[in-house]
């Protein structure tokens, strides 16, 4: 039997099962905490930090923190929203995210978060790093310019024996995802599709497939990310 516990998010009373991760507990209480690296049902990583909340006054990632009795969580405060905005902006300047030329535009979680937070221009200078495009795999194209190193592909995509197909190579700021060359021949169309779907940005693409959904009908064209979880709370528009 699960033990039910009580906690609050932005002062709202919430109920959850003890030990549930904060993002999942919030979701069950119809509160959206933005995530990028997190995949439901897969062991959380805490890689992207976008789900950062304040738990009893301390900053923590909601995807890796189990909920406990009496926790007071700050989620939609000015401070937390600005912090999340800065993380999204950092992603945009750190890589080469050319939305107009991207096959994933309109279905990209990173872009959708920028829309949600109404980011008009990042506060940080653009880095324009030099990165490679890798089309050696017969099924997929990897564009390292767009990769945010969330490790979703590594954690989710496995072969029939349950072994990893994707991995990290190199260290530090040079780190990038690779596909195990030995398993390249085992790479099915199904795995390729799943890889593209699991990638929150446009870093993994299925070859010879792109721009399949017309503008206006894509995932985030009409509704903001997370609106399936909660009714959209309009962030105060400070553009003009």
């Amino acid at each position: 039997m699960y033990q039910t516990i009580k906690f609050t998010i932005d002062g709202k009373e919430c109920i959850a099962k003890k030990g549930q991760y904060l993002v999942d507990a919030a979701k069950e209480n119809n509160i959206y905490i933005p995530t990028l690296c997190n995949v439901e049902g897969v062991k959380p990583k805490g890689a992207c930090r976008i789900c950062t909340v304040k738990v009893n006054g301390r900053l923590m990632t909601a995807c890796t923190t189990p909920v406990a009795e009496g926790m007071a969580i700050e989620n939609n405060t000015e401070e937390i929203i600005d912090l999340r905005k800065s993380i999204v902006e950092l992603f945009f300047v750190e890589g080469n995210h050319f939305c107009p030329a991207c096959e994933k535009s309109g279905e990209c979680d990173l872009q959708a978060l920028a829309y949600k937070f109404l980011i008009m221009a990042p506060r940080f200078p653009f880095q324009f790093p030099v990165r490679e495009l890798d089309a050696t795999n017969p099924k997929i194209v990897k564009d390292h310019n767009r990769c945010i190193l969330c490790k979703r592909c590594i954690r989710v995509i496995k072969d029939e024996e349950g072994k990893n197909i994707y991995a990290f190579k190199k260290r530090g700021h040079k780190v990038e995802i690779i596909v195990d060359p030995e398993s390249a021949d085992k790479f099915t169309d199904e795995l390729a599709e799943k890889s593209m779907e699991i990638c929150p940005v446009g870093a993994i693409l299925v070859k010879e497939k792109g721009f399949s959904t017309p503008i206006g009908q894509r995932k985030y064209d009409k509704v903001p990310i997370g609106s399936d979880i909660e009714k959209v709370t309009k962030i105060k528009n400070e553009v003009l």
Binding site: P100, V130, D221, V232, N237
Partner: protein
């Protein structure tokens, strides 16, 4: 009430953002009731003839002439708006940022598949020509920009709402659908 004076320019852009300005359709008749254009490709005025209230900049900053125009706009306009992805983050022209200038010029004038008749392998180098910058820069990394309107191109409704809000001095209430990066 005197009309607000607006100037526009296209730097390293494709004029798509200017097309999107025209995409406000018949509302342009309402616009010219309250707005007067100065230096702009729309009326073909080449040089500032007076101080402007609003300057709209399309395209990123890719050469010495772009730097000059940006500084000119900053000096002559009270408010500057970066219009579109290229002005905000360099856009498609900035895809050259990872390629050395020499390679870019050689591809364009000497070795590229569409090059014809350049037997002497000349890369244009007249002193009259603007010099390419090492990278294509977002406008706000060269001069101060006051507002940003993203999109490729920015939706006509976004441009309209922004101009109306600026002229009336009101806050914008943007529908979700109008702020897009593509």
């Amino acid at each position: 009430m005197s009309k607000a004076v607006v100037a526009t320019t296209s730097l390293a852009g494709c004029f798509g953002c200017h097309m999107s300005i025209l995409d406000i359709d018949e509302r342009i008749l309402d616009l010219i009731e309250v707005v007067e254009f100065n230096k702009s490709p729309i009326d073909d005025i080449k040089k500032f003839t007076k101080k402007c209230d609003v300057g709209i900049i399309e395209g990123g900053c890719c050469n010495s002439e772009n730097v000059h125009v940006l500084k000119d706009f900053r000096e002559n306009c009270k408010i500057l708006i970066a219009l579109g992805e290229c002005a905000i983050m360099g856009g498609l022209p900035a895809m050259r940022n990872g390629i050395p200038i020499k390679e870019c010029l050689e591809e364009a004038y000497i070795g590229g598949p569409t090059v014809q008749g350049n037997d002497q392998k000349i890369v244009p180098n007249d002193p009259e020509l603007p010099i390419l910058l090492d990278k294509v820069y977002p406008c706000h990394e060269v001069i101060k920009i006051d507002y940003y309107l993203p999109g490729c191109p920015p939706r006509a409704d976004l441009i309209w709402e922004a101009l109306v809000a600026l002229i009336k001095g009101e806050e914008m209430d943007l529908p979700y659908e109008v702020v897009k990066f593509d």
